[in-house]
Subunit: 135 residues, 2 copies
Amino acid sequence: MSKLMSIGVAARKSGVSAKTIRHYEQTGLLPAPARTDAGYRLYSEQAVQQLQFIRQSRRLGFSAAQIRELLVLWHDEHRASVQVKQLVVTHIHDVEQQITQLQQMLIVLHKMAQQCAGDDSPHCAILNQIANNEA
Amino acid sequence: MSKLMSIGVAARKSGVSAKTIRHYEQTGLLPAPARTDAGYRLYSEQAVQQLQFIRQSRRLGFSAAQIRELLVLWHDEHRASVQVKQLVVTHIHDVEQQITQLQQMLIVLHKMAQQCAGDDSPHCAILNQIANNEA
DNA sequence: ACTTGACCTTACCCTCAGGGTAAGGTTTAG
DNA sequence: CTAAACCTTACCCTGAGGGTAAGGTCAAGT
């Protein structure tokens, strides 16, 4: 006796916009739901939970491809938790690399800002350093 | 007597791919160059320097829109260095925020990974936490 | 003179994770 | 009966380019 709901209600319950729900359906993150005679999508509570799962995964920075893998494992009774963990560890590594890159940018940006007077004179150490490819 | 060069040579000298040079021309980061009778683009040394400027700016994480502003200031004899510095300071702030977001992701990801046995059992703390929207 | 290979041109579609809008059908409340 | 709120598909947009196709040009070697 699962209650079915329209895409708008599923959107409110899951925190995922209706537009994005349709997008997930098209890209295979969410199975195509039942429809009313008029063609309206009808979602189950289960579908809403999957949407919440996807949303939380997105918040954690997983890509759609990674989420597809996570969903397969989530639905697989015979998964090994090491498979899940490996996915997460890989993602952690990716995020750490992104952070490192941004931090390296920051170092240079801070140095440049420090050397710029920041007054109304046209002389600017920042522009000179960018132009001369320094740092 | 400025020597002019083809897009391939300009690409090698600037470190920016020919494809990307054309893209920069289309999006207004680089002025349209002279052409040979056959329609081949001809770049000056100055254009190569502007490409290097753009490349270095991209490395520092500036967006195309920000680079457009930097280029205007670079070419403006009457700029005030505070204008440049303000751009950089704003960008520094953006990058710091990105780092903070990634670090917050990392905290959760590390916690989750820690609580997952990572063996061949199907029980997985990671999947449970994502599904229950914890953290 | 001819051919081969390297180079150049424009034009089109692809990425990623959706957002915006249009044009039109459905349903519910007054 | 109508107006609001909801739903549908289809199309274009984002940023910063990459990939590929189909075709024109140029220089070197034969």
